[in-house]
């Protein structure tokens, strides 16, 4: 059993990325606990001269440091990640740096067909920046397109191929987390 922090990559009220994380939390409850965090809890990054983090940033940073890994599910806005997610990562890079060598799983859901492919590629580059230094599994990505129609009333993924793909990815990720402890 591993402990993970799930980050919803948007502050929007309605979000299929939140749905995806909630589904994963249920689906993989045997292998892991996933605590879901919301971006609306954090202030807009303003690069304070003191380099001190606001209280909420400290709190999530401590949780991440204590956790075995992080799952980020990002939407795609304008070919990149939402500013709200970028802002959180700026806080991390500039102050507490909790993602250093932390195993990170990236997923993404979009209404259209591409499933946030470009946002995920940006996110990988961003997490690879020296001040963040997240630990990313090479070659694994999970792109959920047509996300509005993807879940049933109980919040379960309906497409069995997409389900299997996620199962496989998560299995690999758990192994990756264990290896990197």
């Amino acid at each position: 059993m591993i402990n993970l922090i799930g980050i919803v990559g948007t502050g929007a009220v309605e979000s299929t990325n939140r749905k995806l994380l909630q589904y994963m939390k249920e689906r993989f409850s045997v292998q892991a606990t996933i605590e879901i965090c919301e971006l609306t809890d954090f202030p807009f990054f303003n690069k304070p001269v003191s380099k001190t983090a606001p209280e909420t940033i400290n709190r999530i940073s401590e949780k991440i440091i204590a956790a075995n890994g992080v799952v980020i599910s990002t939407p795609e806005y304008d070919h990149t990640i939402p500013a709200a997610l970028a802002s959180l990562l700026e806080w991390f890079a500039y102050t507490t740096q909790p993602l250093k060598d932390k195993p990170i799983m990236i997923t993404g859901a979009s209404y259209g067909t591409l499933g946030t492919s470009r946002a995920q590629s940006h996110l990988r580059q961003i997490l690879n920046a020296p001040e963040l230094s997240g630990l990313l599994m090479p070659g694994r990505e999970y792109l959920l397109g047509g996300s509005l129609q993807a879940f049933n009333d109980k919040g379960e993924l309906m497409n069995s191929a997409k389900k299997e793909e996620l199962d496989k990815y998560f299995e690999d990720f758990v192994r990756f987390v264990v290896k990197n402890q």
């Binding site: 990054f45 990149t80 939402p82 500013a83």
Partner: protein, 806 residues
Amino acid sequence: MKLIGISGTNVGDSATTLLLNFVKKEFSNLAEIEIIDIRQLPLFNESIEIGEGRLVQDISQKITEADGVIISTSEHNRSIPSALNSFIEWMSFKEHPFNNKPVMIIGTSIRIQGSSSAQLHLRQILDSPGVDAWVLSGNEFLLGSSGSAFDEQNNLKDASTIKFLRSCFKNFLHFIQAAKFLNASEEVHFEPGEYQVSAIGHNGKLPMTITVSKKRIEKIEIDTKNETEGIADTVFQRIPEQIVSGQTLNIDVISGASVTSHGVIDGVAEAIDLAGGDSAVLKRRPKPQNIVEQESLELATDVVVVGGGGAGLSAAACALKAKRQVIVVEKFPAVGGNTIRTGGPMNAADPDWQGTFAALPGEKATLEEVLSQDEDKIDEEYKNDFKKLKKQIENYLQSGNNKLFDSILWHRIQTYLGGKRTDLNGNEIHGQYELVKILTNKALESVKWLEDIGVEFDPNEVSMPVGAKWRRGHKPLKSQGYAYISALENFINNQGGKILTDTPVQELLIEDGTIKGVVGHNFEGRQVIIHAKSVVLASGGFGANTKMIQKYNTYWTKIDDGIATSNSPAIMGDGIKLGESVDAALVGMGFTQMMPVSDPVTGELFTGLQVPPANYVIVNKEGKRFVDEYESRDVLTQAAIDNGSLFYLIADDKIKETAYNTNQQKIDEQVAAGTLYRADSLTELAQQIGIEPDVFVDTIDKYNSYVDAGYDPEFGKEVFDLKVQVAPFYATPRKPAMHHTMGGLKIDKNAHVLNKNGVIIDNLYAAGEVAGGIHAGNRLGGNSLTDIFTFGRIAGTMAANNINDK
């Protein structure tokens, strides 16, 4: 040049901002840059309706109005700062000010990379749908080691860096000019009708019917039985309402029903494209105004003139001279109509002036022909004038005068004889005497009147426009069509007349069975009601309306669907239809005039290799000659139509030198563009234009032998010059293009529109190509300008007097 500068950083006094400030200061002589602080906006969140909405709109407005935007970015974690990211999200959510906006990216970083990775991300972001900016490519300005790059006055220290920045900035200004060009021409034209599409709704397909007129989306009907009730109902009501009222597809989706909203918008877009419009243009249009502002605009005036060409503007000028209030409504964004396209002079007999020019060889023979003409073939009403003309000619010939002859009667008889035609059904037509009489009597008065308004004519040249048959053309000194329009427009503006452009008239305003004005709409889609005591129709003929030409045609054996036109695309027969709505009589509608030797696509006359008929050889698509190249316009046109319309003018390297419309550079460009063919052998040329080479070579060999013999046994061509023998060889594709429509509303000599019983329709006047009866079956070159300025003046004066009568 106005630019907006954006510093993409979360902090105030960063090097990124210093760089932007430096650009503003250093290039202040090249452009005015206003720097917007984006940190006043909160972190973007689509679910929160922020109080700052106004702020988002204000910034968006500034960007929309600017010529371009410069974004200076820092780099945070290999990407752009969240502040800049959030700003772009605000600017691509409800507002889309970056759409087609030129953007230049610059950036700084503390280390040596100079924001290189952030700039690449920024390019991708600005390229995304919803942002759609036009980013200057190349010109990457990366300022590394920013901590030591500026001096104490915050100027960049390194001269070569400044030099490079300057060159990037100048390239950006150039890019803005190019972008302006790309952003032009945002008009849409539809094929009117009902279009069925099925949009994607939340629960499947939404069958929709979209009705469009020529330039507007008129109605959107949605079959909603498959959709769940509730929020979607708002979508089905509000979105079509907004699309129709704003004539735009730039519509906010309804929160909570975005899929259905997009379904409706996409469905309308599909219908627009089916109707031959461009939905992308409608998506770029501004959002609809508030419904409150969409109420009709009501105006009142004495005289309203429909159409801003030469006829309409001279009618307006005359009504203004009679101290009446005047509004001119023009459907296009600028006045000018077909008049502004004319290259030809204006006919008016002015014997005193013409008598100062020497007569040319051949003119005497033409006059002698008149004397030998059989009087019995002259229609009764013209007989008297014809006899008097004969006397004038006899006197002139006897006097031994060697100067150019002319008289009003000679102009009149030529107009009459030139216009006399019989159509395919055997119906004969000739110009109505009282109209032709006025035209020729008042022609010179029209020239003098134009001089008063401010048109300068060249006193040193009496010219003969193509198809005019006599030298009586008065030619403006300034560029021709524009000379008339600019002088008239200035006069109208100075005299307090009002010109509403972008305002097509859709119907006549009728109250108690009488015409009381017009109803149209402006570019915002807002209805415009103009109450007026007199209405002058001066909207031109229907030379750009192929369907209408085909409907009425009785003269040509065939009108191609794809026929080109020399007319302005505005010339769609609008005024004729308005007249028909009040039962106006039409006259001579079956007769139209074509330019036989025109560009097959554009209808333009002066493309390809235009050489004297003595030199060119015309071949059809089979590679055979089919007509004497010297034939008149009518004969050439009909021969072309009989041969499938498309034909080629063949020339060789020697003949090329006689071309009067082109030069080597233009020729090379046209060959490269595929609008002119060139080959080193006749066989190869034939292959290029898809003609059987043997047939083609045989045709040219025969033609060359006729030139040697000075005799053409096939078509009787009489004047030869060059043979086709020196490589390279050229083929210019040509096709007859629609040029002038002679038919139109029936008018009396006072420009009143008549109904089918020959009775005057109260308050309605018509002038110019919209009216028929003058040129009958064929218009003399140079007579259309005489027509519009003479009957335009009459219509304006009578419309003004109409008010005195009451």
